[in-house]
Symmetry: C2
Subunit: 249 residues, 2 copies
């Protein structure tokens, strides 16, 4: 059971991270199974009073997924009173997840800052649970177990934000391996957007963005014609992230 110094923490403020990964054509997120409870939670944490909120979010990502310098974006503050459940703190004490003397701290009204991260599935070697949880696992967003509090809403908003951002920004770096085929990139888009795209038009458009570098290698060993492998032009990718794609005005 964890005992920490709540004096050093910003009161009533927490962080929740939706950590997206892509594997086997499915969009997955990292979630934690709470000790002694049949509920799961998004990776999160609190904010030390002398730390930047964004930096604390990066800390969460580092501790749970072992990754640093990853795309991580604040997308919303969840500030409704109703997101606090009266007996949530009590349950945590009952199940010996937290020490009884911390109950007051956990029972105060919390607002939480939502972040989402895009990470490469295979680079997360050992998802690490925190003191409240017995395991940390990748789960497909289409078959999620029951989540605590408003974590399902937080995920939904993160996903919606991601979908919207696809119109202005590239995606893929940090989410795909260094080398990937056009089809794999397309599968990522189709999964995030939850719709099918035309293969040929997708290719043309992607190439027109000028952020891909064709390597001379091909993926072999799988069935059918060996596809070309691409990598991202990191410089141009970053430029596209900053300036965005098509603004109409």
């Amino acid at each position: 059971m964890q005992n920490f110094d709540v004096e050093k923490l910003h009161p009533g403020l927490s962080i929740d991270c939706v950590i997206f990964g892509f594997h086997e054509n499915e969009l997955k997120i990292l979630i934690l199974k709470l000790k002694n409870l049949n509920k799961w939670a998004l990776p999160g944490g609190f904010v030390e009073v002398d730390k930047d909120v964004d930096a604390e979010a990066a800390e969460v990502l580092k501790r749970r997924a072992g990754l640093e310098n990853i795309f991580l974006r604040q997308f919303y503050l969840f500030g409704d009173v109703a997101r606090n459940e009266n007996d949530h703190a009590r349950k945590m004490v009952d199940q010996e997840v937290i020490a009884p003397e911390l109950r007051d701290w956990f029972e105060q009204r919390f607002v939480t800052v939502g972040y989402y991260a895009l990470v490469e599935y295979s680079k997360v070697k050992a998802p690490t649970p925190d003191y409240t949880s017995e395991s940390c696992e990748w789960r497909s967003i289409s078959e999620l177990p029951s989540l605590i509090l408003d974590h399902r809403d937080i995920l939904a908003r993160a996903h919606a934000t991601l979908k919207k951002e696809l119109n202005n920004q590239p995606i893929g770096m940090n989410l795909l391996p260094d080398h990937f085929t056009m089809s794999e990139l397309q599968a990522l888009y189709e999964t995030v957007l939850e719709k099918k795209l035309d293969r040929r038009n997708f290719r043309r458009r992607m190439l027109s963005y000028d952020i891909l570098i064709p390597t001379n290698k091909r993926r072999t060993g799988v069935a059918h014609k060996a596809p070309m492998l691409y990598e991202f032009d990191r410089k141009k990718y970053q430029e596209a992230m900053v300036s965005g794609f098509r603004s109409t005005w």
Copy 2:
């Protein structure tokens, strides 16, 4: 000097609102002149522990501008430690803006939630200062006085967000009078975007959005040919706000 019950407030959490208005072809915001200080501030406030954050932002808007049911959007949480200035609370006490016993409350580390609102300039009859301020005024964003803390950054981010949103959503309702000419609407766009637009193409595009209703009235009394007055189709406008304009995927 204001004395309020800080026990009822969410600790270390504030709200700041960028309230945009449009007048004489200039984008303006409401700012407050602080008592006994030569500094200005965005309208803001604190969050009662039993109130939704969004609702408290709406309260700020209501108290300062006297408006309700107005477009109001949360756009960012400003959570850097550096945004807190050591002597800000001390100055407030020194200048008798707040009671000395509130100094501890004001000296804690704060994070602030940024909101922006679009309001009709002429509907704000009497901008109302709060207990920290001696006046509340419209000021053009191009000639702003010195603002406290990171309020200039907050404004910049609000403006950037607004610019970006113009690609997906309509603007104008709540910012223009009920009836307006095409040129006035274009002037609003040009002001927000900080660039000139082609008159004829602008008209065509706006009409294609199908959110405008031409009235049979014309603006008279001014020089030159009397222009047609339009109003927004409120139902279709709202639909466009929800579904957005052009998504490329």
